[in-house]
């Protein structure tokens, strides 16, 4: 794991029991994890009474450093020895390292999910809705008498800003073709997962 000067110095301050008492350390650590994992968390969390006597600039520095360290560990799927070694280099004592690793282990899966969901991808299909209709006539043509499907693919943009759903009509044969191809894809997925 390689982190910047800023992060390293922040972690070193966090390691110092002169600046951060054990309870202050615990609170800051938990705050750092919560602010990353909990979408509703905000800066108010740094207002905990135990942290009151610490200079706000220092608090922010250490909070940012801790959060960055957590993210880097998550990004590289770092294991316990790697994290321990790094924190040791930042002058963390055994106890604080243990605490960090325990907290990290607890939140590892959620962290990975969040990190994995960041990124761009083509429009992502989340659902499909369909409508079956029986056409009887148009103003230009009477007695058409044929079934038709209207299919809407519900689509999510990675920014979940817009939902540009894709709608199209098709005949029964075309829908059979579509479903056939999707089944081919699914079968191919199954075979690939067994390799």
């Amino acid at each position: 794991m390689e982190l910047s000067e800023y992060v390293q110095s922040g972690l070193q301050i966090l390691a110092d029991s002169g600046c951060f008492s054990p309870s202050a350390y615990t609170v800051l650590l938990q705050t750092a994890f919560q602010s990353l994992l909990n979408a509703q968390a905000d800066q108010v969390a740094l207002d905990h009474p135990v942290l009151k006597h610490i200079d706000p600039t220092v608090l922010k520095h250490c909070h940012a450093a801790a959060a960055t360290c957590i993210l880097e560990a998550g990004k590289h799927k770092a294991d316990k020895p790697t994290i321990s070694t790094y924190l040791e280099d930042c002058k963390f004592d055994r106890e604080r390292i243990e605490q960090f690793c325990t907290e990290y282990q607890k939140n590892k899966d959620t962290l990975e999910i969040i990190l994995g969901s960041i990124g761009r991808c083509p429009l992502h299909v989340t659902d499909v809705s369909w409508r079956l209709e029986y056409q009887i006539k148009t103003n230009q043509l009477h007695k058409t008498y044929r079934p038709a499907y209207l299919v809407t693919l519900n689509v999510e943009n990675s920014d979940s800003r817009s939902h540009p759903d894709v709608s199209f009509s098709c005949t029964m044969e075309q829908l059979q073709d579509l479903v056939g191809k999707l089944k081919d894809a699914a079968k191919s997925l199954e075979r690939a997962s067994q390799m």
Binding site: K77, C121, H124, S129, L178, K181, A185, L189
Partner: protein, 199 residues
Amino acid sequence: MLLVLSEEHKEHLGFLTQVDSAVVGEFGRIAVEFLRKGTNPKIYEGAARKLNVSSDVIQHGVEGLTYLLTEGSKLMISEIDFQDSVLVLGFSEELNKLLLQLYLDNRKEIRSILGELAPKLPSYHSLEWRLDVQLASRSLRQQIKPAVTIKLHLDQNGDQTTKILQTDPATLLHLIQQLEQALGEMKTNHCRRIVRNIK
């Protein structure tokens, strides 16, 4: 159901009695060609010169014929109804037979042309798919994230558009299940009854 022809319409068609059947056949061919590709006024002038009448008369004749054919095709009237509708024009037996034949020969094609005028949504053309596995991203390394990338080809008013979409394995299975249910609907008693009874 009979076709109702206005006086003006009957007058326009009246011209057909003054030419021989080959010409009527030719007019019929022109009428269908115009339905396929759009009108071409030059044809009227050429025919007008050959037959020694004004091009207006030719135009009305062709248009009258076109209307006869499209209305008949639109309503899908039976042979008998078509014959009865034309009877009122007082044409010769030969001309009546000719018109009927023209109607029957071209009905299917005219109906498919008329069908294209209906309001339409983009329609399905085809689909291509690809299996991908995401191994890493800027924010997370060492991933194994399978995904299916789909290229959906749609037609709208003659233009082909393409949409690139992606989905995960679970959603893919869900899509297949939902769409199979949709296909199954046509086979239910409810739908079968409706299809049987609306004719």
